[in-house]
Amino acid sequence: MTQWFTIARVLPERLGLNGSSASAEILAKSLREMGHEVSIVDVHGPADAPGSVDIVTVGSGSSSQVSPAATELIGLVRVFSQWKNSGAQWVAIGMGWDLLGESLITADGESVPGAGVFPSRADYRPGRFSTEVHGLDSQGRESAGYINHLGHSELLEGATPLMTLENPPEGLPVEEGLTAPHLFATRVGGPALALNPHWAMDIVSETLASRGLTPEPGEFHQRVEAAASKARSLIIERLRSRR
């Protein structure tokens, strides 16, 4: 039976660098291909925030966006609390995750308060990592992508790493990302959910479960899984050949 779902895309202009606002598009496509209706609402402040949403996505940005984005997110804290209490799924990439965490220390050492949605703390002082990565996620599934991000994140109580990287470059922590009930975050950039459709399916499944539904993947999902598997294999092949 067709259901209506709403995805909130938070500050897409500020936090949408390098394809990172594509999470909403990818999840919407997955749900639509199961026969559901999905609307994506861009949220810039409390005035355009829907009262309830099923999924919240936030992307990454560049360093000049930290301060203005943090200020705008503070204005949304009450809305976030409402969404969180109603059981929305949260999907955050890169800087969006960091700004929705507890706090962020910039490369200059300035401390910026986070919106407190994710139990994590980010520190940009260790510098930038820009590399393809792969490893097994918390459910043992092969996962891969590209990280182009500053520093690292510390997970707080209640969160577990999304994946364990295989032979990451020096300085890049082995544990990557965050999962917790209703929460998904990663520094794997841009189309992380496209390259790893098992993650997209986890989020879609939880969203459907909240309405008592089960996912019904079709031909689109099979094609995406097949293409993603080949794309990931090439990344893994490249990384292993460099060792």
Binding site: R14, N18, S130, G190, A194, L195, V224
Partner: protein, 423 residues
């Protein structure tokens, strides 16, 4: 090593590398090792100085245009070939254009300069003018974020001894111009009218850099792009109006041409000859690999470069009709193609063949956009033959969207021997 022996060695190396086919930056690299001060020695005392052209996109095109406009106005111009924008590329151009005693017969140098190497080149030979085309989202795997490019270009601009010319349609460059103007530098600008901007769905595709708090820029405008349609551009320079037919269509191309005309006006003052500008622009050709059509076994392949998000978006915005036969070829030269998801594919309603090592990432992108695609042939040589056959069968040209490395490979497979950056 002495100047003359160093040039003799470099010229012999140049001769040998050209015997093997194409050109190379190797003779320049060797010359810089043998004679580190060679750029200052050869280009440091040119009567009209040195113009450095930098920015995220349009460097090669703008450099080529400025060079041809100055030559058409009677100046002897030294320039580096498209893409030869690192120190060794510049030195290779010196090897090619200097006499055996290391003398360059030129009045002015117009140099395309890579953003990341700009400071190093400025340390070797000072820029008189710095011309900045834009700051866009480009090579994030290399630069991290556009803020770093802003800082590099700002530091380059601060080295100009005469002045800085910026594209004022890019708000990042307006902020940069204001910053260097505060230090007492002369800042000139080119303007782009709203009418011209509206011809491309995504405007000038400036990087989303947050320049809140930047000082307003008060600069003298040296040229204005009034309107553009297809490959025709109308601009004003001083009290004169120019109607130009350009070698390629698109707002980005017209903006590059306006920057070139504006630079000419800044250098020559009121002596710009409109007819000369019109003729020089009409006779120009697209820079190597950018909007170029190559032929393989009798079939045409129109190359559209996907160097980065803004360059691909600008090229897509300039397409009027849906291409009939579309090939996308992308490899490791685009290490992180995440930015694809920010692209508006415009008139592209299908893709016939995907190739290169990033083909499957493109396939995923097209799946999520709901755009049908045909075969995935990872091997580019096989894909080229397959498309040649399709082109012959359907009697249409192939529209090839390619990254730089695939463009080079396809040109080589098609028998085009000359290399970019070869001096």
């Amino acid at each position: 090593m002495g100047k003359v022996p160093a040039f003799v060695v470099a010229k012999i190396l140049r001769f040998l590398t050209r015997l093997r086919g194409g050109g190379s930056a190797f003779p320049g690299l060797v010359l810089l090792r043998l004679r580190p001060q060679v750029l200052a020695e050869t280009l440091g005392d040119l009567r009209w100085g040195r113009v450095f052209v930098s920015g995220s996109n349009g460097k090669s095109t703008t450099t080529t245009m400025i060079t041809s406009l100055l030559r058409a106005h009677g100046l002897r111009v030294f320039s580096n070939p498209a893409g030869g924008n690192l120190p060794q590329g510049l030195a290779s151009a010196v090897v090619g254009q200097a006499s055996v005693v290391g003398r360059v017969k030129a009045d002015i140098a117009v140099l395309e300069v890579d953003e990341a190497y700009a400071e190093r080149i400025a340390n070797a030979v000072e820029p008189s003018w710095v011309v900045l085309t834009n700051i866009q989202v480009d090579q994030l795997n290399r630069f991290g974020e556009p803020e770093r490019v802003y800082a590099m270009l700002r530091d380059l601009a601060a080295r100009a001894t005469e002045g800085v010319i910026i594209n004022a349609a890019d708000p990042n460059l307006v902020a940069l111009g204001a910053e260097v103007a505060q230090k007492g530098l002369k800042v000139l600008s080119i303007e782009v009218s709203d009418e011209a901007l509206s011809t491309a769905s995504h405007g000038v595709v400036a990087a989303p850099f947050d320049a809140e708090g930047a000082e307003p820029l008060s600069s003298e405008s040296v040229a204005t792009l009034l309107s553009t349609a297809g490959s025709h551009a109308t601009m004003s320079v001083g009290n004169q109006k120019c109607e130009l037919d350009l070698p390629a269509p698109g707002l980005h191309y017209a903006v590059d041409a306006t920057i070139a005309v504006g630079t000419l006006a800044a250098l020559l003052g009121g002596e710009v000859k409109v007819e000369t500008v019109t003729d020089a622009m009409r006779e120009g050709t697209p820079v190597y690999g950018r909007g170029e059509t190559i032929t393989y076994k009798g079939q045409d392949f129109e190359l559209t470069m996907m160097k980065n998000l803004p360059s691909l978006q600008a090229n897509l915005d300039a397409m009027v009709d849906s291409p009939a036969l579309v090939w996308v070829a992308v490899d490791e030269g685009t290490p992180d193609p995440s930015w694809l998801y920010d692209i508006d594919l415009g008139v592209i309603d299908h893709v016939d063949v995907l190739s290169g090592t990033k083909a499957w990432q493109w396939a995923l992108f097209l799946e999520h956009r709901g755009i049908p695609y045909g075969d995935v042939i990872e091997d580019t040589a096989q894909a080229l033959d397959h498309l040649q056959g399709l082109s012959l069968e359907r009697d249409v040209a192939v529209s090839a969207i390619v990254n730089y490395e695939q463009m080079m490979l396809i040109r080589r497979l098609a028998g085009y021997k000359e290399l970019e950056g070869a001096a």
